[in-house]
Amino acid sequence: MTHKEFEPDDPVEMVGMQIPGQSEAALRDMALCFAEEFVREGWNEEKIFAMFKNPFYAGPYLAWKQKGDAFVKSVIVEALNMWPKPEHSHG
């Protein structure tokens, strides 16, 4: 295998290249998926926001890095409004 920098016009070097189709709407859709997933697990706003800011969670983190606090918070609030908090049973 070759080890060199990516070249966008090389048809055999597609890995890791950005392809057309990215938009703010798509980014929001993806961020909302993450937020909804954890809202439905019972996480609160603070905990989900912390996840978005944690580089370990690459997907959410990327959304936060590109769009910032206000965007991420609005996404989390939308998800929280959408899904009631699940009832937990302990034991």
């Binding site: 080890h3 597609m14 950005q18 938009s23 993806m30 990327l62 959408m82 009631p84 009832e87 049973s89």
Partner: protein, 412 residues
């Protein structure tokens, strides 16, 4: 060339053999919104069927990362490009009808020094050899082969969306592999539509490897014949002692921890259409709710694997991959109705094949708005029945939610 009807492209098309249909058809639905790319399915298949000498690069089940990945590498991009070259700017849909050329029709135009029955290509050894390479893994520092960034912070980021695409043989209604075989060594079983290669008749010409648009026929150099997914047919036949003669789902389905998979057998009419079977979960998901769509229907093989498209992926990409039904499928999935929500609970609740389901209505749990649309959650009970009509599974829409108490944290 015979004329056959392909419902997925909503028109007649040319196929090298006359139409011939099974009584039942092996089919499956994968919910891509749920796939986490854990490869448990891949390993379940590998450890059952392809662990021997000569099968090292053979993965009947694989999970690739879209849009970057593919096994063999670039399989779909290469074929899409070949079709585009054969029919420039003609590969388009008009409503539900595909106006372009299928792999069979494009091959007729392609007559050259080496005419093909099915438009295709033979992947190189290198393309088979590196499943998943660099799909969502980082490369190491420039010029240092085999190394990686130990700090983590240097990893290249995909500043765009991705999703995992799990794939097995689609046991197509009009298989490309079967059409291309010069020995007629490939056949479709009349009882369940499973596509098999007769290992005695196969001479390893690899015409099927070239022709299968999904690249799911794989050559084995140690025996010099080609092999492919057999849909775990002993399990379908109920030969596994666990089920006492009742049909069982394949290894890859049964092992799915993401609960993305549901497999079944659907009834086929004499003319090849799906017999109405309203409460078969696959019939419901594919024909009634229309939330599950075939993979690259424009190839023309009428694949029997169906996918619930991932909701966050740009629609243009999804429409190229799953056809014109994408918007309806995602809209329906995002705000599911009462029946769909119940049927989604059947995924991976049992390893027996569910032939029929019934829903018992339960109490209302809450009302809300999802993506601006009203949504009411009812805690209905969904019941799955096996081939013999016996109940095999009973579950509820609201699953119990357990939190491990502090005293037991990390006590596994």
């Amino acid at each position: 060339m015979a004329e056959v009807f392909n419902w997925q492209i909503n028109r007649n098309m040319s196929y090298p053999h006359a139409a011939h249909y099974p009584d039942k058809q092996f089919a499956f639905v994968f919910n891509l919104n749920r796939c986490i790319g854990c490869q448990t399915c891949t390993m379940a298949c590998k450890s059952t069927w392809t662990f021997s000498k000569g099968q090292e690069y053979m993965w009947w089940n694989n999970v690739e990362t879209k849009p970057y990945g593919g096994y063999p590498q670039f399989w779909d991009v290469k074929l899409l490009e070949m079709l585009e070259k054969a029919n420039p700017e003609g590969q388009v849909w008009s409503g539900d009808t595909f106006k372009g050329k299928t792999v069979f029709e494009a091959a007729q135009k392609q007559a050259g020094p080496e005419p093909q029955r099915v438009l295709g290509y033979l992947p190189t050894d290198e393309e088979w050899r590196f499943p998943n390479i660099y799909e969502d893994n980082p490369r190491g520092p420039k010029g240092e082969i085999g190394s990686f960034h130990k700090e983590g912070v240097q990893l290249p980021e995909h500043k765009t969306w991705f999703f995992y695409l799990a794939r097995i043989c689609n046991h197509c209604t009009y298989p490309g592999c079967l059409a291309a075989c010069p020995r007629n060594a490939i056949y479709k079983r009349p009882e369940d539509g499973v596509v098999l290669i007769d290992q005695e008749r196969c001479r390893g010409y690899r015409k099927c490897v070239e022709a299968c648009p999904y690249k799911k026929a794989m050559y084995r150099p140690s025996t010099r014949v080609t092999e492919k997914c057999i849909a775990c047919y002993p399990r379908l036949e109920g030969k596994d002692p666990e089920t006492h003669g009742q049909p069982m789902e394949t290894r890859c389905m049964a092992s799915c921890i993401g609960q993305i998979r549901l497999q079944g057998l659907v009834k086929i009419a004499k003319d090849g259409s799906w017999t109405e079977d309203r409460y078969n979960p696959l019939y419901y998901l594919i024909k009634v709710a229309k939330v599950a769509l075939p993979l690259y229907p424009q190839f023309g093989t009428e694949p029997n694997g169906y996918y619930m498209p991932p909701r966050w992926v740009p629609r243009g990409f999804l429409k190229q991959m799953f056809g014109p039904g994408v918007d309806h499928a995602i809209d329906t999935y995002m705000v599911p109705d009462r029946e769909l929500l119940a049927v989604l609970q059947l995924f991976r609740k049992t390893n027996r094949i569910i032939f029929k389901y019934a829903i018992e209505e339960g109490p209302k749990v809450y009302e809300t708005k999802i993506h601006g649309k009203p949504f009411t959650l009812y805690n209905d009970t969904v019941i799955g029945f096996g081939q013999d009509g016996q109940e095999i599974i009973r579950t509820q829409v609201e699953e119990p939610f357990h939190v491990r108490p502090d005293v037991h944290q990390n006590s596994i």
